[in-house]
């Protein structure tokens, strides 16, 4: 079964994402912020990292950079959730090495649609 790391400081968003992905047959590991996510990435493999951008301690962009520095996650798909698709956000994501982005708000159907494109 494929494993997804879902990172968001909002419990309700985490629950929605985790429930959606689990219902679609994925294994989900939740983290409350970038720091927590990074610690959880130790000793684990993920087929996808889905992370919010604005979080305390370490934001999505910083997490992406950190993960990319780790050879284990060099090619792992990383998607950053943002609430606007401004070019600036996209640029920052791209520079950090993110695979792509997903605009909030999204519904479960949209989430599954996107996931299927990056998780084989």
């Amino acid at each position: 079964m494929q494993s997804i790391l879902a990172v968001d400081d909002s419990a309700s968003m985490r629950q929605m994402v985790a429930f959606t992905l689990k219902s679609a047959g994925y294994n989900v590991v939740e983290a409350v912020d970038g720091q927590d996510a990074y610690e959880k990435s130790n000793g684990r493999d993920f087929d996808l990292v889905l992370t919010d951008q604005n979080m305390p301690r370490m934001d999505g962009i910083s997490l992406t950079k950190k993960l990319r520095d780790n050879p284990k996650f060099k090619t792992t798909p990383i998607l950053i959730l943002t609430t606007e698709s401004s070019d600036q956000m996209k640029q920052a994501g791209r520079s950090a090495g993110a695979t792509g982005w997903l605009v909030k708000p999204f519904d479960p159907a949209k989430l599954i649609e996107v996931i299927k494109k990056v998780v084989k």
């Binding site: 400081d9 909002s10 419990a11 309700s12 968003m13 629950q15 929605m16 429930f19 959606t20 219902s23 679609a24 409350v32 720091q35 990074y38 610690e39 130790n42 604005n54 979080m55 305390p56 301690r57 370490m58 950190k66 990319r68 520095d69 780790n70 050879p71 284990k72 060099k74 090619t75 792992t76 798909p77 990383i78 998607l79 609430t83 606007e84 698709s85 401004s86 600036q88 996209k90 994501g93 791209r94 090495g97 993110a98 695979t99 792509g100 982005w101 997903l102 605009v103 909030k104 708000p105 999204f106 519904d107 479960p108 159907a109 949209k110 989430l111 599954i112 996107v114 494109k117 990056v118």
Partner: protein
């Protein structure tokens, strides 16, 4: 079309989002609390980046959830707040006190909106003015109280933008779907003019907002479906917006992949808006070698130490708290406490019944019972502590309340709290909040003088109100202190005499201060609507006494006043003194017992034919014969009650005539009203070690009874 409510079940991919609503509401509530506290603590002169970021995140987090779960009004308001907060955290704007006020008001509005969604009732909130003010501030203007005539039109238009949709008709043959971007603009709502264009010109096509009517970075995005060419469209659009502010693009899907990014999917077709990646690392077409992995070994170790050291201490508890707390319903906890209470009673019965047992014969049983005794005590303590919550829960409402109150009264007040971590039973917390609120408002309203008066007296312009909590013995002591004008002995005496209350000059200061607790007593010349009307110190005292507590006042005229409230740590367990009347056992709250003594018949005198009094050290006290009060049957007609127990409540003392004093113990209080009905003079019941029920007496009620 306007308000697309999500209140009904919303299925997407077969998932009902409403199952997440409750968590969202609780989380939003916490975010609002945090945001309010941060705003109140914010030092405008030297706002810290991390503070501004934290406030931003609170609004941002609520917005994310609100938008996801379809609470549009909440999403809209938080979006506007976020815009302002974003500019503040980027130092594009300087924080002002007016901004803090508007943000605090917005927080209030959000609470109301969320409550409405959560409870499913209530009128929709009109946030037009609030939104207008926030937008004005974001644009660097000062807010106006009454929106000028021209503004409401555009201010009203923006929130309604979501409803100004041309019906998305099915795409006509040859129709293209595009993204129209307008901006960056100072007044992004002007972009709504382009929506009108599609209404005015038939066959131009359809348009709907992609951004829920909420601009991002001053940009507005729309989805346009049209058979017209780009250049025709642009010609029309430039009637309303400048050419350089319009862009027509292929429509994105709300997500996308970076060209050449690791892990990005291959392009499926030539449709741009999806990534494409030849030679991207990780993609199947990648011919280049993967990045060098020489440092694998060391890298996997490094994360463990570095991030931990770097993590700022303040933030760490937040994530740790996530993992180590549990949300439990209050009913479950109460049920647990009830069951433990029953266990304690049963264990007490076992202990009592085994008293006559020969320990040598029943060694193991005796040892087991001793263990049970200890374990039960520990269990009880542990379970009671579950309901204990820190006083900070009570204190948290005051900063905001005082800020609003002080500003309304034109006073300057600092609010200091001490002992926020002191714990109190949840049931008590709920009941102590109103009396404390009254005391604090009192201090602000009547105690603290106006800045001018204070300076004239040589005091600092800003007064201080201190709220403190601490454990002392088996009680919790809560104090409200202020450095205001204090109580005036003369004024109080005068007022008392005017009301016909016996107030000789020989009264001690303590007794004079206690005059305040007399019903209807208020020395304020004008009863302000803030703290005076209908709620007096007498009600405060009554409420506190009902909780088994006491209130004391201390004051120094010109310097300030202190009100001390002492409460038992919990309502469920009480220290009691058991008394015997006939075959019955009654329990008196230990805190209400003053003294007891053996009585001789000649000490009791009859007054007025029916009332009996007893002389105690030159004072005559009403006597209540418990046998008469409760109609206790007497089987031994020669027996005469011989013990007086003096109790005090509601400012009065009476002597209870009983047969014997049986002892002192902790009793588990059982609610009589819930199990039977309200009984006069009785506040509860308990089950004793021998299995019999003992009624817990309501001393206040007995004192009142003696008064007529």
């Amino acid at each position: 079309m306007g308000e697309m409510s999500s209140e009904g079940s919303q299925l997407s991919a077969g998932i009902d989002l409403s199952q997440f609503y409750q968590v969202f509401f609780e989380e939003a509530g916490e975010n609002l609390d945090r945001m309010e506290k941060l705003l109140l603590d914010l030092d405008i002169e030297s706002a810290d980046d991390e503070e501004m970021n934290a406030i931003f995140r609170c609004a941002h987090s609520i917005k994310g959830g609100a938008a996801t779960f379809g609470f549009k009004d909440v999403a809209e308001l938080t979006h506007q707040m976020e815009t302002l907060l974003d500019k503040l955290r980027r130092h594009e704007l300087v924080p002002t006190s007016a901004m803090v006020d508007v943000l605090l008001q917005s927080g209030d509005a959000l609470r109301a909106q969320l409550a409405r969604h959560q409870n499913g009732d209530g009128a929709e909130l009109d946030t037009t003015e609030l939104l207008f003010n926030i937008r004005a501030m974001s644009a660097g203007e000062a807010p106006v109280i009454a929106a000028p005539a021209a503004a409401p039109a555009s201010a009203a238009r923006a929130p309604v933008a979501a409803s100004v949709l041309a019906e998305p008709a099915p795409a006509k043959p040859g129709a293209r779907v595009l993204e129209l971007r307008v901006g960056p603009m100072d007044n992004p709502e002007e972009a709504n003019n382009v929506v009108d264009l599609f209404k005015e010109i038939t066959d131009l096509g359809t348009i709907e907002p992609l951004d829920n009517g909420m601009p991002a970075d001053g940009m507005r995005r729309f989805k346009v479906c049209t058979t017209s060419t780009d250049s025709d469209l642009l010609d029309l659009l430039t009637f309303h917006v400048a050419r350089e502010q319009v862009a027509l693009l292929p429509l994105g899907d709300g997500y996308g992949f970076h060209h050449g990014a690791p892990g990005a999917p291959e392009a499926e077709q030539a449709d741009p808006g999806y990534g494409f990646f030849e030679d991207a690392p990780g993609s199947p077409t990648d011919a280049s070698a993967p990045a060098s992995s020489t440092e694998v070994a060391t890298l996997s170790d490094a994360p463990k130490t570095a991030p931990k050291a770097a993590a700022p201490k303040a933030e760490k508890p937040a994530a740790a708290l996530e993992a180590s707390t549990l949300r439990v319903s209050v009913e479950k906890v109460d049920q647990l406490i009830n069951l433990v209470g029953e266990l304690v009673i049963t264990q007490a019965m076992l202990a009592q019944n085994s008293q006559g047992m020969d320990p040598a014969l029943y060694q193991q049983l005796a040892a087991g019972l001793a263990d049970l005794d200890r374990n039960t005590r520990d269990l009880q303590e542990s379970v009671m502590s579950i309901r204990m919550i820190p006083m900070s829960m009570v204190f948290s409402r005051f900063p905001r309340m005082l800020r609003d109150l002080a500003s309304k009264l034109g006073k300057k007040v600092d609010f200091v709290t001490v002992g926020e971590a002191t714990e109190l039973d949840k049931g008590l917390v709920e009941k102590i909040t109103d009396p404390l609120t009254h005391l604090v408002r009192n201090s602000c309203d009547h105690g603290i003088e106006s800045p001018a008066d204070r300076v004239a007296k040589g005091k600092p312009e800003t007064g201080t109100i201190t709220l403190s909590a601490s454990h002392q013995g088996g009680s919790i002591v809560i104090e409200v202190r202020d450095d205001g004008r204090g109580l005036s002995r003369d004024k109080l005496l005068k007022k008392a005499r005017e009301r016909g209350i016996h107030a000789p000059d020989s009264m001690s200061d303590q007794e004079v201060w206690s005059l305040i607790f007399a019903p209807g007593f208020s020395t304020a010349d004008v009863v302000t609507d803030v703290s005076g009307r209908g709620v007096g110190m007498d009600v405060v005292k009554k409420n506190i006494t009902a909780l088994g507590g006491t209130v004391d006042i201390d004051s120094a005229e010109g310097y300030g006043m202190r009100v001390s409230v002492r409460l038992p740590l919990t309502l469920a367990i009480m220290d009691g003194m058991s008394i015997g009347v006939g075959e019955e056992v009654y329990i008196l709250p230990l805190s209400s017992v003053v003294e007891s003594f053996q009585v001789q018949p000649d000490m009791v005198k009859t007054i007025g034919g029916s009332g009996r009094v007893v002389e105690v050290r030159d004072e005559y006290m009403p006597v209540l014969e418990m046998e008469r009060v409760f109609n206790v049957p007497r089987f031994d007609f020669e027996h005469v009650s011989g013990i007086m127990v003096v109790v005090e409540a509601e400012g009065g003392r009476i002597a209870l005539l009983v047969d014997e004093l049986l002892g002192q113990q902790q009793v588990v209080v059982k609610n009589l009203e819930a199990n039977y009905r309200k009984v006069n003079d009785v506040s509860g019941a308990t089950i004793m070690g021998d299995g019999r029920v003992a009624l817990i007496l309501d001393v206040g009620s007995l004192v009142r009874r003696s008064r007529h």
